[in-house]
Each structure stands twice: as C-alpha cells, then as structure tokens.
C-alpha cells in the first residue's frame, strides 16, 4: 500500500509541541505586557472642554494645588473645582478671552463644566485622598509633575494598577515627604530620606494595609 504521508510529516509532532508551547508563552507574556495598565493607560490624555493649563496656573503662577482641589486633605475626593472658583479670578483676569467662553457660559447658565476624568480607579476599589496626603504622600507620587502639563490637558503618568498600589503599600519609605512639601512638584528626596521616613512612620504610625478588605470594602 502506498504511503499516506510523505516522510517530512514525521516532524509534525515536534513542531506542533514546540509551536503550542511557544504560542502559550507568547500569549501569556504578550497579555501581561501589552494588556497591563502600564502599557495601556499611562499617557492617557483626553481632550478637556476647556484648554486649561496646569503649567500656567500651578507652575508659572505658582498657585497651590489646594486652591482648587480643596477636599484633598479632608475627604476621600480631591474634588474638581466648581466654575465659581475659576471666576474668582477670571471675572477680572482675561475676562474676555475666547478660551474661557465655556467657563463663562457655565457660570451664566449654572451648569457645571463636564471635565473628563483622567485618573480612574475601579468602582470596587476604595481610595481616600486625605489619608494618603496626611500620611505624607505627595501629589506628584501618583499624578506626576502636573505643574508641567500645559493646555493639552492632564496626562496619566502612573499605571494605577493594583500591583502599583501594592508596591508602595509594601514599601512606602521612598514616597514619604514632610507635610509642608506635599504639593511641591520639585521636591527631591534628601540624602537622609531613609531616616526621615522611618521617623515619620513611627510618629504617624503609618502601616499601609495590604489585605483585600483595605481597598475592596
């Protein structure tokens, strides 16, 4: 009887096994890397309804973050300011600017500006701004150097993934700073950061939880 298959088909099983293994490894690590928030979400910079420049306000003019984000030390939310906060200045300054048309419209009609949220944490993850800020975690640690972000809008600089949260919860020391430096975008860790952080941790009894219930309440 004639052979059904040519001789090279003897190699099929070897190639099949190698191919399946290679595919599994590629798919797994491909998803791990290309599917991670670090790859997908860092760099997210949606177009905002108003070309607001943090660089101008917080950077060049030197306004404190907390002038607008008033809730950051007291509540879970840092809070996005209402239009009236803008109008504190802009009723006088640049009162006729075209770029501010949406702001004046919002002020006149009493309808809030629909800012697009950049830093999103899932609904099932509980996050509290005040507890982090009061422990000594600076704005920059999670939001990047906002004072350099111009009118193209705010960009997400960190992955905000669970693993990224846990990295700091397991080892908070490099991210702690004096309370007075919280909003300082140019602060650099001093040489004695380790001793300082140890002192702060002891003083404030900082013990970042790593159990499920800490964030998934």
């Amino acid at each position: 009887m004639a052979q059904l298959f040519p001789k090279w088909t003897n190699k099929i099983p070897v190639f099949l096994i190698a191919g399946v293994l290679a595919t599994l490894v590629t798919v797994t690590f491909g998803f791990w890397y290309f599917g991670s928030p670090k790859y997908l979400e860092v760099g997210y910079r949606p177009k905002q309804p108003v070309p607001y420049s943090h660089k101008l306000h917080a950077g060049d003019l030197g306004m404190d973050c907390r002038y607008c984000h008033v809730g950051v030390e007291k509540s879970a939310h840092a809070s996005v300011p209402p239009t009236s906060t803008c109008m504190n200045c802009h009723s006088q300054v640049q009162a006729r600017s075209e770029k501010l048309l949406v702001v004046r419209e919002s002020y006149a009609t009493n309808k809030p500006i629909e800012w697009v949220k950049v830093h999103k944490v899932p609904d099932f993850a509980y996050f509290n701004h005040s507890v982090h800020v009061n422990a000594g975690v600076g704005c920059k640690s999670c939001h990047g150097n906002v004072a350099q972000m111009d009118e193209r809008g705010v960009m997400q600089m960190e992955p905000l993934s669970m693993g990224w949260c846990l990295d700091c919860h397991r080892n908070p020391e490099p991210h702690l700073r004096p309370k007075s430096e919280i909003t300082n975008m140019d602060w650099v860790a001093p040489a004695n950061q380790k001793e300082f952080a140890a002192k702060l941790i002891a003083e404030k009894k900082i013990k970042p939880p790593v159990d499920c219930g800490a964030c998934h309440r």
């Binding site: 791990w32 693993g163 846990l166």
Partner: protein, 491 residues
C-alpha cells in the same frame, strides 16, 4: 496476554492433561475479523433512525443550554434561584454530580486494568469517553457559577499587574488543578488507547479526507512488534498515573465541603463517601449509555454482553451499599459527636423541609440496587436500565441534599431560607444532559466505540494453546490452577 479459553496444565510425570474452562468473554464465536467488522461497521455505515432522533433532541437541548449560558453571562447569576444563605445550589450540585459520573471511566480503564479484569475491555472505550464528556459538563458549572466568566484566568498562576497570586490554601483552588489534571490525563489515556483502532479504521477507509484524518491521528501506527511493546508500556504507565486520580479527584471535590465549618459538611467521612458515590453513579451512567447503545446498534450485543452487564451491576450494588453505609455513619456520628448543630442538621435533612429530597436519595441509592441480589435481575436489560437511571437520580439528590440543606439552615435561624429553583436552574441542568448526550452520540458516530485491539487480546485465538504442544503454551503455570487441576483428576 494471558487470556485463554481453556487453561491447560500437565502433571510432571505422566503428561496427563486437564482442562479448566473459563467462560468466554465475547459471544458468538468471534474472530479478529468479525470484531473489526462489527465495531468499524458502525462509523463506516449509515446512522440508524434512532440515532438521528436522539441526536436531534440532544443537539436541541445543547443549543438551548448554550443560549441560557449566553444569557447568564449577559445578565449575571441572579437569574438562578440561589442567593444569600443558599449561595451554592443546583450549579454546584450539577458540578459534583457530573464529576462523580466521570469516575467510572478511570476506574474501568486504569484500576480494572491493573487488576487484570479482562471483561473491562468491552466497555473501557465507552466509559473513558463518558468520563471525558462528564468532566467537560462538570467543568462548565464552576465557570458559569463565577458570573464574571472573563475573570476565569485568575484561577491560573499567571503573571498579572494586580500582583495577585492563587490562594493555595483554598480547596476550590485545588479543585481547579484536580479537575484539569483529571481531564488531561483522561484524554491522554483515551487517545493512547485509540491509536491502534484508529489505524485499523484508517486501513479500512477509502482514500479521501477521512483516511487522511484517521491517518493523522493514528500517528503512523503499523502494529509492529516494537510499536506494541512501547504501546503496552505507555498504557501501563498511564494506568498507573490515573489510578491515584480515581481517589484524589473526588476527594478534593469533597474538600470543597469538608474543609468548611458548615454542619453537615465538616466531616472526615466525606472523601471516601464521595469516591464511593462517584464510582456508583459512574457505573450507573455507563450502564445507561451501554443500553442506549444497544437500542441504536443491536449488533454490539455480542461484544458487550450479559456478563459485562452482570459485573457492572454487581459493582453498582456494592458501591450502593457503601454509600448507604456512609449515610448511616453520618447519622451515627452526628449523634455520637454530641455536637448539637451537627445533630440538628441531620434531623432536619430527614424530617425538615427537604425531607422529600432526602428520602428520594435513600430510596434510589440504598433500596433500589438491592434488587441485584437476584441474578436474573442483574442480567435483565430493562431492570438494569431503570436502576441505572434511578441511581443517578438518587445521586443527584445526594449532592443536592448535601449542598442545599446544610446551607439553607445555617447558624442564624433568622437567615434560614428555602431554596426554590428558577426555570434557568432547570434549563442549565437539562441542557448539560443535552451537551453530554450530543458528545456521546458523536462519539458513537465517528469513533470505534469498543477497544477492538484489546478485545481481540482477550479472545481465545490471541493466546492459542493446544494440548499436544504444551511447550508452546504459557511458561508460567498458575499454581492455583495447577492445584485445582491435580485435584480434579490429575493422578
């Protein structure tokens, strides 16, 4: 192989010959060719009308099942009747039931193989196929029970940006590994056994796509001496690997319950009790399927015959009694332990709101198989079919009683709740039966349903002995037979 129709031995001095006959395993004076013709004839021929009717019904149920699953994934598991207090209900009942059914396959193919039970050859292909299909049906339930099925990969040890790792202290996690190991080993065992038969079918096939496919899966099998040596070794190794799985898989399933602190679940008897119940229900399912196969293909009756039915019924009766013993033992321990919660849950099982489920279970699993004390019943197909169905009804109730009664009446009476299934609970259960039967009927349609090569190995011709050629016979005399022979008329 050691199979012989007549065993012969000789005394040392006078060459006096004695024959100890052993019943033949296959009816109708078969030859190698008739076996091949009967078994290969099924997938090579046209399917009878009954096959199409059964397939139509099963396929419709399977489509219904898949649609219900799609709706369930879209809507969430709230469409089922389970909720707080009874968080595990029909889904977990079905899961445990199906895994249990899957156990007969490995028992027949591995343990009976190691014990040299030659009658297994007629039914092992069947039951291995059934095992695979049952495990597939079982595996679907925990997946859809999760609700967010797209998170299923969280069960696997994969790197991820959540830095989440598996909770290896959880028996639910062990379950994932136990079931997937079981499925892969079962498939491997089944496939290795299929290779010589696929080659037989390949050689009979007309040139075309079917021949090519059979040829691909037969892996170039020629039936050479060396190939058979490798094959037998591989088969033995796989049988050895599968044997512990028969015990371990359902043990781990029982740990899902036994390691919790719910009264009625937290008992040490669970592992052996679950394994016995699994073999019980698995054999009953093999019986059901064999009899259905009889209806469709009456010609296989000579290969799977009365003796196989008789042997399976004996195992059903024995394991049924083990299960009955476990029911009694649970009650005894509930009283003997002096634990009021344990005692209360068992009294409630028998007399509480689920009394009907409890007594259905006892009737089907303990009372009904007792009919097999009568030999004529053990070989009666109608009786065997009815008992096999009732046994699996009873086993389903057993899983239901364990899962639901303990949960519905937990520690806080204010949260006690009576479980009522919804139409979707029923649809998922019936649908899984449809999936199972669809796969089984496709198996009958395309595969050799009996392990031809192995059946041929237990035929008299496979091990020829002629009284005048004693030196050609077996080298090793079984001492017992020799002794018996001597007694019967040696000197």
């Amino acid at each position: 192989m050691e199979a012989v129709a007549t065993l012969k031995t000789e005394t040392h001095k006078d060459h006096h010959h004695v024959y100890v006959p052993e019943p033949e395993l296959i009816d109708g004076k078969p030859t190698f060719k008739t076996i091949t013709d009967v078994i290969c004839g099924v997938p090579e021929g046209k399917m009878p009308r009954l096959w199409w009717i059964l397939f139509g019904v099963s396929f419709a149920l399977m489509v219904m099942y898949l649609s219900v699953i799609a709706y369930l994934v879209y809507k969430g598991i709230g469409i089922w009747g389970l909720n707080t207090t009874v968080g595990w209900a029909w889904d977990i009942t079905n899961f445990v039931w199906w895994v249990g059914i899957g156990h007969a396959g490995t028992l027949i193919s591995a343990i009976l193989f190691l014990f040299r039970q030659k009658w297994r050859t007629s039914i092992n292909r069947f039951s291995e196929a059934m095992t695979i299909f049952a495990v597939i049906c079982a595996g679907m339930f925990p997946l859809i029970h999760m609700g967010r099925i797209w998170h299923a990969y969280w069960f696997l040890p994969l790197p991820n940006s959540m830095q989440m790792w598996l909770n290896f202290r959880s028996p639910l996690m062990w379950d994932v590994f136990a079931i997937s190991t079981y499925l892969s080993v079962s498939i491997m065992f089944w496939y290795v056994g299929l290779i010589p038969d696929l080659a037989t079918m390949r050689d009979r096939a007309k040139p075309g796509i079917r021949k090519i496919l059979l040829g691909l899966f037969a892996l170039g099998w020629r039936g050479g001496n060396r190939q058979w040596q490798h094959y037998e070794k591989a088969y033995m190794i796989l049988a050895g690997l599968s044997t512990p799985l028969v015990l371990s898989v359902h043990t781990i399933v029982s740990f899902d319950f036994a390691t919790s602190i719910i009264p009625g679940w937290h008992t040490t008897i669970f592992p052996p009790y679950f394994v016995a119940g699994a073999i019980f229900s698995g054999f009953a399912m093999v019986m059901t399927l064999v009899i259905i196969a009889y209806w469709i293909f009456p010609q296989i009756k000579q290969i799977i015959n009365e003796r196989h039915i008789d042997n399976m019924n004996k195992i059903i009766m024995v394991t049924g009694m083990m299960v009955g013993y476990a029911y009694g033992c649970e009650f005894f321990i509930a009283w003997y332990s002096g634990n009021p919660y344990e005692a209360s849950i068992f009294v409630k099982r028998a007399t509480g709101p689920y009394w009907w489920a409890y007594w259905s279970m006892v009737f089907c699993n303990v009372v009904v198989p007792q009919i097999f004390w009568i030999k004529s019943m053990r070989t009666n197909l109608t009786a065997s079919f009815i008992v096999s169905i009732l046994v699996n009804v009873g086993m389903w109730f057993e899983r239901f009683v364990i899962t639901v009664t303990s949960l519905s009446q937990d520690f806080i009476p204010s949260s006690w709740k009576y479980f009522t299934p919804t139409i979707y609970d029923v649809a998922c259960f019936v649908g899984s039966l449809g999936l199972f039967m669809t796969l089984f009927l496709l198996f009958l349609r395309y595969m050799p349903m009996v392990a031809m090569a192995e059946v041929k190995g237990v035929l008299p011709h496979a091990n020829p002995h002629h009284p005048d050629h004693a030196h050609n016979g077996r080298a090793h005399h079984d001492e017992k037979i020799e002794e018996l022979a001597t007694k019967n008329g040696g000197h």
